[in-house]
C-alpha cells in the first residue's frame, strides 16, 4: 500500500505525527528519521524519562508497521531475541518460533544490560539483516530499524558495548531535556490520557522504502565527498583519540546527509547537511585515550573541534 505522496511529503507527515507527541524534539526527530530512511540504526543515550521509548513507539505507530520491544536484562539469551525451534509432539517435528527480532521497528531498551553474547546476536542481525538459528538463515524484513537505548548514569551491572559494535549504529542521539515551555505542553497533552494513543499511521513500509530509494538519488559533489573524508580522517590523528572513525562513518555521513537533503526538498547535498549530521555520526565511534578522558574531553567535543578545524567548502 502506498499513499501516493511525494518523498518529502512522506517525511513531513511522519515528522508531524511524531511532533504531536514529542514536543520540542524536532532536531533529534529529523536526524533519527534520516538514519531510519537510509537503513541505519540509532543508539539513544540519555537520562531516564526523556522520551527515548516514546520516540521509538511513536515512530512505529506513525508507520503502519510491526513494532516490538525487548527489555534487555543480564539473563536474556540470544534465543530470546532470535527465536527458537520447538519440538511439536503432534507432528513430531521442530517448528521455528520467531523471536521479537523478526519485526520492522525494534526497540532494544537498555541494551547495555544484556550480556555481550546476547548483544552480539542483536548486532549481527543489525549488520547482516539476517539471523542464523539452528544453522538456518532467516532473513529479516527489508524495513528493519533498531532503536537501542542506554542510560548514561547507571553503570553497575552493565556491559558497555564494545567499540566494534558501537560502529554498527549509524548515529548516537541525545534527546536532552526540553525547554520549560515544551515541558508545560507535555503536561497539558498528558493531563487526560497519553497522546500516543491518538497517533494514527500516516505512511506505510513501502513509502519508507520509496523514501530510501529517493535518498540514494540525491546528488553529492566530489568536493563535498572530499569534505566528508577530511572530517572523518581528521578524527584519526586528533589529539586524545586512540581510535578514530572508520570509513563506515564516512558512508553513514554521506547517506544521512542525502536523506536530510531529501527532507529539505533539495536534489543535492550542501555543506550544511553534512555539518548537521557529522557529530552524531562520528562521536560514538571515537575511543579516547584515558588521559584525555580524565582531562574532561568527550568524544562529542573532539568531533566538534574537528568540524571547526576542517575548512568548510563555501
Amino acid at each position: 500500500m502506498t499513499t501516493g505522496l511525494s518523498p518529502r511529503d512522506v517525511y513531513l507527515a511522519i515528522a508531524n505525527n511524531i511532533g504531536t507527541v514529542m514536543k520540542g524534539q524536532a532536531g533529534p526527530t529529523r536526524r533519527m528519521l534520516a538514519a531510519f530512511v537510509v537503513g541505519g540504526h540509532v543508539l539513544l543515550e540519555d537520562f531516564p524519562g526523556t522520551g527515548k521509548t516514546t520516540l521509538a513507539k511513536v515512530l512505529a505507530r506513525s508507520l503502519n508497521v510491526e513494532f516490538k520491544r525487548i527489555q534487555f536484562t543480564p539473563d536474556l539469551l540470544p534465543s530470546d531475541i532470535t527465536g527458537v525451534s520447538m519440538f511439536d509432539q503432534r507432528d513430531r517435528q521442530f517448528h521455528f518460533q520467531p523471536g521479537p527480532i523478526i519485526t520492522n521497528v525494534l526497540l532494544a531498551d537498555e541494551i547495555n544490560r544484556a550480556s555481550p553474547r546476547t548483544q552480539s546476536a542483536l548486532l549481527e542481525a543489525m549488520a547482516e539483516g539476517q539471523v542464523s538459528v539452528d544453522g538456518e538463515r532467516r532473513m529479516l524484513p527489508e524495513l528493519f530499524f533498531v532503536i537501542a537505548t542506554q542510560n548514561p548514569v547507571e553503570f553497575r551491572g552493565t556491559y558497555p558495548l564494545p567499540e566494534a559494535q558501537m560502529d554498527r549504529f549509524a548515529m548516537q542521539l541525545e534527546l536532552g531535556y526540553v525547554a520549560p515551555a515544551d515541558e508545560v505542553a507535555i503536561l497539558t497533552a498528558q493531563a487526560q490520557n497519553h497522546p500516543l494513543e491518538h497517533v494514527a499511521p500516516c505512511a506505510s513500509a513501502a513509502d519508507v522504502l520509496r523514501l530510501r530509494d529517493a535518498a540514494q538519488h540525491v546528488r553529492l559533489s566530489e568536493e563535498l565527498k572530499r569534505y566528508i573524508v577530511d572530517v572523518v580522517a581528521g578524527t584519526r590523528g586528533a589529539p586524545g583519540v586512540q581510535l578514530g572513525a572508520s570509513p563506515r562513518a564516512s558512508l553513514a555521513i554521506m547517506k544521512t546527509a542525502q536523506a536530510l537533503a531529501l527532507f529539505d526538498g533539495s536534489e543535492f547535498v550542501t555543506p550544511d547537511h553534512i555539518r548537521e549530521i557529522a557529530v552524531p555520526v562520528i562521536a560514538h565511534r571515537l575511543v579516547l585515550d584515558p588521559q584525555a578522558k580524565f582531562a574532561g574531553t568527550t568524544a562529542r567535543t573532539v568531533a566538534e573541534d574537528i568540524l571547526k578545524r576542517v575548512p568548510v567548502p563555501v
Binding site: R219, L220, S221, E222, E223, L224, R226, R236, G237, P239, S266, E267, F268, V269, T270, P271, D272, R275, L307, K308, R309, P311, V312, P313, V314
Partner: protein, 663 residues
C-alpha cells in the same frame, strides 16, 4: 576556503637585494631575488610532497651544520660567526625557492622538527616560509655590521613594507605612516644612545677588568698558606705538557714568578715585589723565535704546551732559559723578576724552551734580596748560629742549609696555624709544605749573607710517557733562588718525598678525566696547529655529492609523482568559484560581520539573521557550487540578479563591490 597567508608582493625579493647590497654579494642576490619573485609571472608549479620538503629541509640543515663546523674550526667564535652569518640566506635558499615554486601554500610544522616527523600532521598550520626567510635575511644583514644610515634605513623601509600589508583597515594611512615614522625615529635615537653607552662603559670597565681580573696580580704578590689552618688541597688537573728528547731529563723546575719581600705581618703570609714593569723582548729573525739571553747556552730543549684562555699570560720557564722558539704570539715580555709573559698567542699555546746555562734574565740582586723582617730576625739568627752559617761562602751555606732541611724536616700538607708560623716550623714541628721550606730557606740564607728570592712555578715530575711529562695542578711548587758566584741558582729544600705524598692524593678514576683532557687537548691542537684547510677541502668536495644525492632523491620522486598526477587528475575546486554570492560575503566582512572560517554559509547567515532574506540566493549559490548537475543559464542570471538587488538595497555599511560581467 582555507585561509591563505599573504606576504606583500616583491618584499622578499627586495629583502634579498638589500642583503646582497649589505654583505657585498649583489650579483648573487639579484639572481636569488629574481628566482624568488619569478613565480608571480609563470604559471607552472612543482608538486612537492611533504617528504620532498622534509628532504630539502634536511639538506639545508646539513649545509647549515657543515658551514658552521667549517666556520668554527677555521676561526674563533666571534670571527667565525661573522663569516658564517652572511651565508644563512644562501644556505636556506633552496628551501625558500622550492616553496616559491611549489603548489603548496604552507610547509607543515612536521618538516622543521625531526621529533614531529613520525607523528601525524596535527593541524594544517605551519611556518610560512617567506616570513622566516625574511627574518633570516635580516639576521644575516645585521651581522654584516654596516654601521651607517644605510642599514637602519633599509631595515626601517622593509619592516614598514611588511607592516603596511597587515595594518588595521580602520585607521587612515597618514596616521599609520606617522606612527611608523615616530617608531623609526625613536629606534634610531635609541640605538645611537646604546652605541654611545657601550663605548663609555667599555672605556670605564676595560681598565677595571684589566686591573682586577688579569695578569699583573700573579706577578706583584704571591699569597702563601703560611700561617693558615687546615690541609693543603690541590687538584689533579693537567696544566702543562712538557716534552723533551728521549735521552734528556725534563727541567726540574719551571718558574712562573719570583718575589723578594716577605710580608708576615698579616697571616696567611705573602711574598711581594716592589713591582716591576714588563719590557718587550725583541723578536728574533725567524718567525716565532724570541731570544731571552743574547748569548745564552741552548744545549737543552723542552717543549711546553698549555691552555692560555685569552692567549695572554705567564709562560713557565726554567731558570736558565736562553730563548723561546716556535712561539706564535704578538709579543713576549719579561720583567726584573724573571717572569716571561706572552701576549695574544693561541688559546692553546705551545713553545720550545732552549736552556742549559746558569745565566738568567734576572738582574743582579738588590738590597731587598737581603732583607729579613724584624719580627722573624731573632728566630733566623738563632737557627743560623746553630748551623754556623756566619762567614761561610754562599755555595757552602746553600749546601749546609739544604742538608739541614733534608736531615731534620719532613713534608706535611697539614697546616697547624700559629701566630709565628715560621718559628713554629723551624723550632717545633719541623714539618710543612713547600712554601714553608722555600720561605725558611730564603730567609736563613739571607741571614748568612746570601741574596735570595722566593720562586713559584711547577716541579716537573719525572714519570716519562715517551718523553711527555704531565704537570698537574698538584705539582705547583715553591722554592728559593739564591745568588752565588754571579748567577741565580735554584735551591729546592723541600724533602724529595713531597711528590710521592702528593701522588697519594691521586683519585682512583683520575684516568677518566685525563682522557677527557687529552681529547680536548688533541682537538685544540688540531684546531690551532694542524692544516685546517684540509677540512674545508673535504667539505668543499663532499658538499656537491651530498647536494646531488638529495636533488636526485627529490626529483626522482618528482617525476614519479607527476606521472601519477597526469594519470589520475586531482579534482581542484574550480566550479562555481566565480559565484556572485562571494560579493555578499565580502561586503559583510568589510562591515565586520564576516564569516568565521569554521562556519558554513548557512550557519553564518543564520547567525547574522540573514538566512531568510538571502534564502533563495544561497540556494542558487549552493546549487551552482555543489550540485554536480550544475545550474541553467537562467538560474545563473537569477543568482546574479538577486545578489545585485541585495547589494543595492541592503543597508550594510562598506564600499560597494566591483561589478561582475553577465555570464
Amino acid at each position: 576556503m582555507a585561509t591563505v597567508m599573504r606576504f606583500p608582493p616583491f618584499l622578499l625579493g627586495a629583502t634579498v637585494l638589500f642583503w646582497g647590497w649589505m654583505v657585498g654579494w649583489l650579483p648573487a642576490a639579484i639572481v636569488g631575488a629574481v628566482a624568488l619573485e619569478l613565480p608571480r609571472w609563470i604559471r607552472w608549479r612543482w608538486e612537492f610532497s611533504a617528504q620532498d620538503m622534509n628532504r630539502l629541509w634536511d639538506l639545508c640543515g646539513l649545509l647549515f651544520i657543515g658551514k658552521a663546523v667549517i666556520a668554527y674550526a677555521t676561526s674563533d667564535l666571534v670571527e667565525g660567526s661573522a663569516h658564517f652569518m652572511p651565508w644563512l640566506p644562501v644556505i636556506f635558499f633552496p628551501f625558500a625557492a622550492a616553496h616559491a615554486f611549489s603548489a603548496q601554500d604552507n610547509v607543515r610544522l612536521n618538516t622543521y622538527f625531526w621529533l614531529r616527523r613520525k607523528k601525524p600532521p596535527h593541524a594544517p598550520s605551519g611556518w610560512f616560509v617567506p616570513y622566516w626567510y625574511f627574518v633570516l635575511c635580516f639576521l644575516s644583514v645585521s651581522s654584516a655590521n654596516v654601521q651607517d644610515y644605510r642599514f637602519y634605513l633599509g631595515v626601517a623601509v622593509l619592516g614598514g613594507w611588511l607592516l603596511w600589508s597587515c595594518r588595521g583597515r580602520n585607521a587612515p594611512a597618514w596616521r599609520w605612516a606617522m606612527t611608523l615614522g615616530c617608531v623609526a625615529a625613536l629606534g634610531f635615537a635609541g640605538q645611537a644612545g646604546l652605541t654611545h653607552l657601550q663605548n663609555v662603559t667599555q672605556a670605564v670597565l676595560g681598565q677595571f677588568i684589566r686591573e682586577f681580573a688579569h695578569l699583573d696580580a700573579d706577578v706583584a704578590q704571591s699569597r702563601t698558606a703560611i700561617g693558615a689552618v687546615g690541609t693543603l688541597k690541590l687538584s689533579n688537573r693537567v696544566l702543562l705538557r712538557v716534552e723533551t728528547p728521549r735521552n734528556q731529563p725534563p727541567p726540574a723546575l719551571l718558574r712562573k714568578a719570583s718575589f723578594d719581600t716577605y710580608d708576615g705581618s698579616s697571616l696567611p703570609a705573602r711574598w711581594t715585589t716592589k713591582g716591576a714593569d714588563f719590557a718587550d723582548v725583541s723578536a728574533g729573525a725567524e718567525l716565532g723565535v724570541w731570544p731571552l739571553l743574547p748569548a745564552g747556552d741552548t744545549s737543552l730543549v723542552a717543549r711546553v704546551t698549555m691552555f692560555l684562555p685569552v692567549g695572554t699570560g705567564i709562560l713557565p720557564v726554567p731558570l736558565g732559559a736562553a730563548a723561546l722558539t716556535d712561539l706564535l704570539a704578538a709579543s713576549v715580555e719579561t720583567n726584573a723578576y724573571g717572569t716571561v709573559r706572552a701576549r695574544e698567542g693561541q688559546p692553546l699555546i705551545r713553545y720550545t724552551i732552549r736552556y742549559g746555562g746558569t745565566a738568567s734574565v734576572d738582574p743582579p740582586p738588590t738590597p731587598r734580596d737581603l732583607a729579613i723582617p724584624e719580627a722573624e730576625r731573632a728566630t733566623f739568627r738563632q737557627v743560623a748560629a746553630q748551623l754556623g752559617l756566619a762567614g761561610l761562602p754562599p755555595r757552602q751555606a746553600m749546601a749546609r742549609v739544604s742538608r739541614y732541611f733534608a736531615d731534620h724536616f719532613t713534608y706535611s700538607r697539614y697546616l697547624r696555624g700559629s701566630r709565628q708560623p715560621l718559628r713554629q716550623f723551624l723550632l717545633e714541628t719541623r714539618a710543612g709544605h713547600c712554601e714553608y721550606f722555600a720561605t725558611a730557606t730564603a730567609l736563613l740564607l739571607r741571614e748568612a749573607g746570601v741574596p735570595t728570592r722566593y720562586a713559584i712555578g711547577y716541579a716537573v715530575p719525572e714519570d716519562d710517557r715517551g718523553g711527555t711529562h704531565l704537570v698537574r695542578a698538584r705539582h705547583a711548587h715553591a722554592w728559593t733562588l739564591a745568588y752565588a758566584d754571579g748567577a741565580w741558582r735554584d735551591v729546592d729544600t723541600t724533602p724529595a718525598t713531597w711528590e710521592a705524598i702528593e701522588e697519594e692524593s691521586r683519585p682512583p678514576l683520575q684516568w677518566v678525566s685525563d682522557v677527557f683532557v687529552w681529547v680536548k687537548y688533541q682537538f685544540a691542537r688540531w684546531r690551532y696547529y694542524s692544516d685546517r684547510g684540509l677540512l674545508a677541502r673535504i667539505v668543499f668536495w663532499l658538499a656537491p655529492v651530498v647536494v646531488a644525492w638529495f636533488a636526485w632523491r627529490i626529483f626522482a620522486r618528482q617525476r614519479r609523482a607527476r606521472r601519477v598526477v597526469t594519470a589520475v587528475p586531482v579534482e581542484r575546486k574550480s566550479r562555481g568559484i566565480d559565484s556572485e554570492f562571494y560579493r555578499i560575503e565580502e561586503r559583510l566582512a568589510q562591515a565586520g560581520r564576516g564569516r568565521r572560517p569554521d562556519e558554513s554559509l548557512g550557519d553564518w547567515l543564520r547567525r547574522e539573521q540573514l538566512a531568510e532574506p538571502l534564502r533563495e540566493a544561497l540556494a542558487l549559490h549552493y546549487a551552482y557550487r555543489f550540485d554536480p548537475r550544475g545550474i541553467t543559464g537562467e538560474q545563473r542570471r537569477e543568482l546574479h540578479r538577486q545578489v545585485e538587488q541585495w547589494l543595492a538595497t541592503a543597508g550594510v555599511p562598506g564600499q560597494s563591490g566591483r561589478k561582475s560581467e553577465e555570464p
